[in-house]
């Protein structure tokens, strides 16, 4: 799987690492899972597919990997159109939905049979590095049926990393992991672009996308609602969490201010929905009104963002 993306040696055409053009999938006559999805991911970028359950994220990734046939449109990896079993998949590592393995085999045997199903030897696949990242230790020699969901997920990440892929496609990679494991996976995903790896991951966790991705595509009901850098998207649906010394006074001030669309009590602070006002302006307003602001954090609730984007789409 080594090789510079788009170089002549590998015979892969230059161009984006991942490109979806008008990708559409209809199941039967009534279910439109993905609706004319366009996406262009350049080499070394980390993109997040963000959306609620049923948004079409997994179906889109499956089409990108040749598991599901598009009804229309096209998907290319490293400049090559994807079809089931296409040779270009040799340069792709993937983990689709929860990681699943042959339960009566050990983790190591699963990796071996997976990798060697196309020939070659596991030892040539960079397995030690992948296992170090997965951090399973001696458990890799235990049968998979004894694994927790988190361990299986980590083994799935190791499987996706075998052979140092040029493109990594991960579907909800941190599902089932504890906070420490989540952090390890996110750290890894942040390191990969420096090694030239292009990453496309799906998640319904906004924080994960914000931490890991340079770009994101927000989708719902199969449609792309918005795509761009994470910074652009955050601005589009900003909110803030504030902790102040006088919440009642702060609520009065903010409710009267233009650019603030909602103020609700949350824990010991206030969740503030913004539409036009920046967090800095809100803080200045409160300070001017004599309210001491102890904490202000960037907030972007997924639900609020989706609702906002959907309403905008309908308008």
């Amino acid at each position: 799987m080594s090789g510079v993306p788009g170089d002549g040696e590998t015979g892969v055409a230059a161009g984006p690492a991942i490109e979806l053009q008008g990708l559409t999938k209809r199941f039967g006559s009534s279910v439109l899972a993905v609706d004319h999805l366009d996406l262009r991911v350049e080499h070394g970028q980390v993109w997040g597919l963000l959306g609620p359950n049923g948004a079409g994220k997994t179906t889109s990734l499956r089409m990108l990997l040749g598991l599901v046939r598009p009804t229309s449109g096209s998907a290319t990896l490293l400049g090559t159109p994807v079809r089931p079993g296409a040779p270009i998949l040799e340069r792709v590592g993937a983990m689709i939905e929860h990681s699943s393995f042959v339960p009566f085999l050990t983790g190591m045997k699963n990796l071996e049979l997976y990798w060697e199903s196309r020939g070659g030897h596991l030892q040539d696949s960079n397995v030690e590095e992948a296992l170090a990242i997965a951090g399973l230790g001696a458990a890799v020699n235990r049968k998979v049926k004894t694994y927790s969901q988190g361990m299986a997920q980590r083994l799935g990440v190791a499987r996706a990393l075998l052979g140092r892929p040029d493109v990594l496609i991960l579907d909800e990679p941190t599902t089932g992991l504890d906070p420490g494991e989540m952090r390890e996976i996110r750290d890894l995903l942040q390191r990969l672009p420096t090694q030239g790896v292009t990453v496309l991951l799906s998640s319904h966790l906004l924080a994960e996308i914000e931490q890991v991705c340079s770009h994101a595509l927000v989708m719902d009901k199969g449609r792309c609602l918005r795509a761009g850098t994470v910074a652009e998207l955050t601005q589009a649906g900003a909110s803030a969490y504030l902790e102040v010394d006088d919440t009642e006074r702060a609520r009065q001030v903010l409710s009267a201010r233009a650019g603030v669309t909602g103020v609700t009590t949350e824990n010991s602070g206030l969740a503030v929905s913004l539409d036009g006002a920046s967090r800095a302006e809100v803080v200045r307003e409160l300070v001017r009104a004599g309210v001491r602001v102890e904490t202000v954090t960037s907030r972007w609730r997924l639900e609020e963002a989706f609702l906002g984007l959907l309403e905008e789409e309908e308008r």
């Binding site: 599901v68 079993g85 998949l89 040799e90 085999l105 045997k109 997976y114 199903s117 196309r118 070659g120």
Partner: protein, 278 residues
Amino acid sequence: MLAAFRTDWAKQWRRPLTFIGLGLLVLIPIIFVVATKANPPGRPEEFRDAGDAFNFYGTKTGLFLGVSALANTSRFLLVIVLAIFAGTAVASEANWGNLRALLVRPIPRGRLLTAKLTTATLLGVIAAALVVLTGTIGGILAFGWHPLTDGSIHQSAPNIVGNLALGTLYVFWSLSPVIAIGFMVSTLTDSASGAVFAAFGFYVVSTILDAITQLPSWFRVALPTHYLDAWQKLFPSGRHNGSGPTADMLRGTLLPIAYVLVFLGFAWWWFRRKDILS
């Protein structure tokens, strides 16, 4: 292709279900041999059927206990084990969620199916061979290696062995439609048990329909189980003295070709265009 087969074989060979299936096919002939040795059947005035004759001849030459083992299992246990090997081939991978991982490797789907069918077929051959070998070896240990001599009936030991090998191949091939439909259903569903049930159900329905003599003969002779027992005429069974391959065996050899082509053809056609959602 070889790598895909090798890895699939390694997987199936470590599977508990494989050991259970093959283990049963070893255990049953051993029980049969031990029971026959402990309580040898006497010669009846007339044999009820070929199996009855084979059981009795088994006490005259141990080689016939291999014939008996094949006759006793080919109508039920062997069918179930073959249905399990075929029905679980693809559906189990889907059920484990491992199929999508296999298919994101750059392996053409047809190649993967070929590897899986080869594994299921090879396991099926081993299953049929195990029944016969266990019965024969157990029979030789219990009753010795002799030619069969019973009144005017005579069959040499090498002749029995040759016919037994031919009969085993014939039984396996006659049951190939069960393998083919099990494999086909296995590509359609994520439920391995559903695929196994479909394959065995197909066999049972065919057997029942074949037993309804009021049905037109052109229909019954087209049923995949109609000629399943034709191999038994290779051996003496009271009503006849045993012969070489018969016309029924020839028909029984040709008949499965159509079923296998249709079922496997559909399996390939479907799987190559199937959306992998499991």
